[in-house]
Symmetry: C2
Subunit: 160 residues, 2 copies
């Protein structure tokens, strides 16, 4: 992985519909080696997938909700039930296990507060949760799938 690869990733993370010929030009390469680089990035799993991003408002889910969950039950059976229940709910788009006060953080995409409450009820029906608190996004200031590339060239354990 070198600077040209990073340049390609920088472009493709923002717009994957750029034609190969133009990509090649941007990195001062001809289409063939440029194509081979992208192919390698895919095979290596650096490029994980190619997707379309939809507009949440246009899909009638303009409200982003963050749900903080604390649990008293830290056993494996509970965890499995929780993960299965939560991961299967399409409104729950992200789930993280955190350190510190909060055990799990969930990010939801819903139409409104009433619909959030419906999802909330569905979730607490499936698993026992010690403490749940939610916060609503009043404003999305930045929302990006673009990862920083500044660290990718550093030597690290397990690097390709």
């Amino acid at each position: 992985m070198d600077k040209k690869d990073l340049k390609l990733l920088e472009i493709l993370q923002r717009d994957a519909s750029v034609p190969l010929a133009q990509l090649a030009q941007e990195v001062n390469l001809s289409p063939t080696p440029c194509w081979r680089r992208i192919q390698k990035l895919q095979e290596a799993g650096v490029i994980a997938r190619q997707v379309v991003l939809c507009d949440a408002g246009k899909l009638n889910v303009p409200l982003t909700v963050f749900v903080s969950i604390r649990t008293s039950q830290h056993n494996e059976a509970w965890t499995r039930r929780f993960v299965e229940a939560a991961a299967g709910i399409p409104e729950i788009v992200e789930i993280y296990r955190l350190n510190g006060e909060i055990d799990y953080l969930l990010k939801l995409a819903v139409p409104d507060i009433a619909r959030y409450d419906a999802v909330y009820k569905r979730l607490i029906q499936s698993v026992e949760l010690a403490d749940v608190s939610s916060a609503f996004a009043m404003e999305v200031i930045k929302s990006s799938t673009v990862l920083p590339l500044d660290y990718a060239l550093e030597r690290r354990q397990g690097a390709a």
Copy 2:
């Protein structure tokens, strides 16, 4: 927007590299009307962009950090400075203004805790923050850019 459009979005949100011929088959359409539907979804902004998603680990930013920020200064000048400073830092991938206790929630992608601290210092140098607390993702259980489609067909204000 009808069921066929939703089916297309469902597929494309997961994999935008599916050839048109296959997409058409999945929705029982021939390539041309299928293509026109996708075109319309793009023009309407339902499909906002097409991107590649990278593997955070392979880019040497395996650590996701959530930063909760409280501020005492709720004036416009402070907000502008904060937003400009935070949005310009590539490690900060998402920024939300929340209701309730926490004013802002940030999501970061960094190599390790030390690098998180460096970003943290950069941020507090730019703007005054009343209270900052961070939580590290020990485990990413679900991380998806797939929005729920179940509400898209409902009648709503401003719907296309």
